[in-house]
Symmetry: C2
Subunit: 203 residues, 2 copies
DNA sequence: GTCTATATGTAGATAGAC
DNA sequence: GTCTATCTACATATAGAC
């Protein structure tokens, strides 16, 4: 019955360690040595499980990162109004990113370096995105919201959610925020972002 | 009278090349070799002008990047209303970043890696930021806008301006945008971002 | 100032013992 | 599977000729 997994599974330990270091330092800034140390093993074992750095990098995503996209984009699946969908999406996004605050910066960063590698990763939320865009278009036709391009609205929502995480060091510097203050700000934005958006688009 | 500058100045050529490569690849991803090639010289000369990689990196900013912050934050210096200041700021930010679309990602990236290095760089706009926050507070007290934290509004404005540049590869992938389409989108946002914001905060 | 040649360190990756 | 020891490549940086 058991068999493949040992105490915790070396492969899993490596993946968790690699994920942590890659997200923090990026592909170019990551040293295999550091991943090995973080996992409590040596470099040779990394190459035993994953042939090379690139495969390790890819493995990290195959093993978990992409499920998060599904989680976020699946957040509003049961919402029947546009406004409730926006609220659900914002809450899901902020909650998820609070657990991995460096993830947004990491993703845009690596996507900028090599868009091919993570394209399938993005496509996970494709249907949900299409559905959201339809909801916007329908709300517009019913006259519930002003005349705004669905794409534009989506970009704005993503911007308001992601940017505080991406620009966190700058915000921390400008406004003198520590970790606790940052979390409080994000918690408040769970409410204020939907309010900000809905005030702007409501007819 | 002339004297220090030659045909174009080797130091300037190096700085321009370094700037280009650093912004594209980041500190960790940049190879001195690549900078030398880009500048049309050899590696040794880089070390002759700038002792090491770190100093070259610093030199790039001392030589030009920080002035851009001043340009953006000085954009609304003659605006007497909050709404006109927002319009001026958004226009200045987008126009500037269209010239260096990779700059926003680069800045947040390096700031995340080492916040000390670029802190003085951020401080350039400090007074202007303070003035902007005062304008928001005053407009709020006059009842022209709703009850919103000045800081929060500033974060939202920055988010709406910067995020399309930062997440450009993702947007390009999702919406199938080429360079020309991206520029058109930014041009439209010069109008739509201020509208979006002002609709949201106007009493 | 600018080059070639080289020193020095360290990265990713492999060989082979256990 | 896991380790130590090592190979190879390449990055930063320097020495020294011109």
């Amino acid at each position: 019955m058991a068999g493949t997994t040992k105490e915790q599974g070396t492969e899993q330990r490596i993946l968790r360690a690699a994920r942590k270091v890659f997200i923090q330092k990026g592909m170019a800034g990551t040293r295999m040595r550091e991943v090995a140390d973080e996992a409590g093993i040596n470099k040779a074992l990394l190459h035993y499980y994953f042939r090379d750095k690139q495969r390790l990098f890819t493995g990290v995503f195959k093993a978990g990162a992409s499920e998060q996209f599904s989680c976020i984009w699946g957040s509003f699946i049961h919402c029947d109004t546009l406004f409730s969908a926006i609220e659900a999406f914002v809450a899901a996004y902020l909650d998820r990113m609070l657990e991995d605050p460096l993830l947004p910066l990491f993703i845009v960063n690596e996507l900028n370096r090599d868009a091919r590698g993570l394209s399938e990763f993005i496509d996970r939320g494709r249907e949900s995105r299409a559905r959201f865009l339809r909801m916007v278009e329908e709300a517009r036709q019913r006259g519930e919201i002003i005349d705004i391009q669905p794409r534009e609205l989506l970009v704005n929502i993503m911007a308001l959610c992601a940017h505080p995480f991406i620009a966190r060091p700058m915000l921390a510097h400008i406004h003198g925020m520590n970790n606790e203050a940052f979390r409080r700000m994000i918690q408040e934005r769970r409410k204020t972002i939907p309010e900000f958006i809905i005030r702007s688009i409501r007819s």
